[in-house]
Amino acid sequence: MMLSCRNLVKSFSGFVATNDVSLDVEKGRITAIIGPNGAGKSTLFNLITGHIKPDSGEVMLEGRNITGSPPHKVCGMGLARSFQRTNIFPMLTVYENIQSAFIAHGGKGLNMWSVSEQQFRDETAQMIEHLALQDIAYSIAGEVSHGAQKQVELGIALAGEPRMLLLDEPTAGMSAQETHESISLLDRIAKERGLTLLFTEHDMDVVFSIAHQIAVLHQGRIIATGVPEEVRRNEEVRRVYLGGGKH
């Protein structure tokens, strides 16, 4: 098992954002978490990656208890994450964004004597090519298109050679075309690298097209998990979420 959450509970001044959530993610599988706004998807991600500590419950990454470990430690254990709000280094170039990630993950961050430009050049160039960012490699990252910024963010996450990737709404704010492209890219990368993928998504087409497993969150609780077909047929899920438009 790549990741298991056991009975996670988190409340914010009385409001229960995560209510007894247990979730298992198998190695090499693509798992989607769906649920209406405010269902607690981002909170669950934050609990997993150590941004917030649970009131109770455990998070296990490959059998190691990582509950409450700070983000910079969690990421050293092979977990990488992208954020809902695009999260890059806006004043650095696209190239420097990805190079920074290589420097950080390569443990060269405290080196004060070498020249940063000469670090991990091959790896960075390869990643840039992998993500088809060559044309804008030397543009300021904060000034490129939204879709490209998401790719940059993915590049930063992949630079750490994670075994597991958490993506919070990877296609938020993208056009249909961009969504399609980035999803097929994600699918390809996950397969090539044998990545375990856990993502939240609002676009149902995306979810049902690539996920092996789907978990449905509602009011902080998981109301269903299973393969896409099972979830699609689940009565409660249909009622609260998939059920013909308005609910």
Binding site: H72, F89, M91, L92, S100, H105, L110, S116, E117
Partner: protein, 330 residues
């Protein structure tokens, strides 16, 4: 053609050119210019150290003068009371600045944005209060006068410089030590560590997720900046022939902050240019009018509103625009 011109401008060792031009000042100018140039060089070093925090890491310190003052006192006390040779005392001043910065920084980096700034200022005021009251060691309110000039016998070996007046010799000593310090800072900002600092400035959350212990990096750069401020302070104490509590007082922190922002925080040389502008403006306006604070304030206001990226930022912007205009015409 354009590309080769840009390549050429990159290949010119600008630091060396600047160093050689500065080295000519005592030759062509009067004692007064040498005096001003020494002042500017020391403050350029001080402001550049502050910019390691502001421009490169995104930490706005309102109390950077504390470490400048500590360095000045440590260097002066070791030289005068303990008879330690200048170079060792000077380095100890830097160590002193770095140690104080490490201790205060330990608490400061736990806070962010304006709370960080206020705490740096509070610590600086504590340092000032101690220097102001601790008569036995710092000389208290009266200051610590008559700091000896370093023995510069080794300069005698260099032809021509050996025969110069002591203040000209001290100018060359300052120029060499400041150039080495600034070169070291330049090395740091271009190192992988420097890149991590800019990534923290841009997005601390993301940097943390790259596995960077953000607070640790902030503490390290805070100590380094304090160390270089201490080195600048050591030189200034000798140049000023005395160390006084107002070296650590908040207007000194404000002064170096203005230099840094005025010159431009997004360029390595910005703070040095800012130091030169502020010191020269100060000198010239004072000699023309008794209302100099008013005139200086007005000029600074115009400069800061007119060039939000600082003077150097505006110049770089202008060059970029000219280049793209030239490209557009072809």
């Amino acid at each position: 053609m354009k590309a080769s011109a840009a390549g050429l401008s990159k290949r010119i060792p600008w630091m060396l050119v600047l160093f050689l031009i500065a080295a000519l000042i005592p030759v062509i100018g009067s004692r007064y210019y040498t005096f001003l140039a020494t002042d500017i060089i020391i403050f350029a070093m001080f402001a550049t150290s502050l910019n390691l925090l502001i421009g490169y890491t995104g930490l706005v310190s309102f109390g950077h003068a504390a470490y400048f003052g500590v360095g000045a006192y440590v260097c002066a006390i070791f030289m005068k009371d303990l008879g330690v040779p200048f170079l060792a005392a000077w380095l100890l001043g830097g160590v002193g600045g770095a140690l104080f910065a490490a201790v205060f920084g330990f608490f400061c980096v736990r806070l962010t944005s304006v709370y960080f700034s206020m705490l740096t200022m509070a610590f600086a005021q504590i340092v000032w209060a101690i220097c102001f009251k601790w008569n036995d060691v710092t000389g208290g309110e009266q200051g610590y006068p008559n700091v000896p000039m370093p023995s510069m016998a080794w300069l005698e070996w260099i032809p021509w410089i050996g025969g110069l007046r002591i203040d000209h010799k001290f100018f060359y000593l300052t120029l060499i030590l400041a150039a080495l310090s600034i070169a070291a800072m330049r090395r740091i900002v271009h190192s992988p560590f420097g890149r991590m600092l800019t990534s923290i400035r841009d997005n601390a959350e993301r940097a943390q997720f790259n596995g960077i212990n953000v607070r640790l990096y902030q503490l390290i750069v805070f100590s380094i900046a304090g160390g270089f401020a201490g080195l600048a302070g050591g030189l200034f104490g000798i140049f000023n022939r005395g160390v006084f509590p107002d070296f650590c007082y908040w207007p000194k922190s404000a002064e170096v902050l203005i230099m840094t922002i005025l010159g431009g925080i997004h360029s390595f040389w910005g703070p040095s240019v800012g130091a030169a502008i502020l010191i020269l403006l100060n000198q010239y306006i004072v000699s023309y009018t008794e209302y100099w604070p008013f005139v200086l304030g007005t000029i600074l206001l115009v400069l800061l509103f007119g060039f939000p990226g600082g003077v150097v930022g505006a110049i770089i912007d202008l060059f970029r625009r000219l280049r793209s205009a030239a490209r557009g015409q072809r």
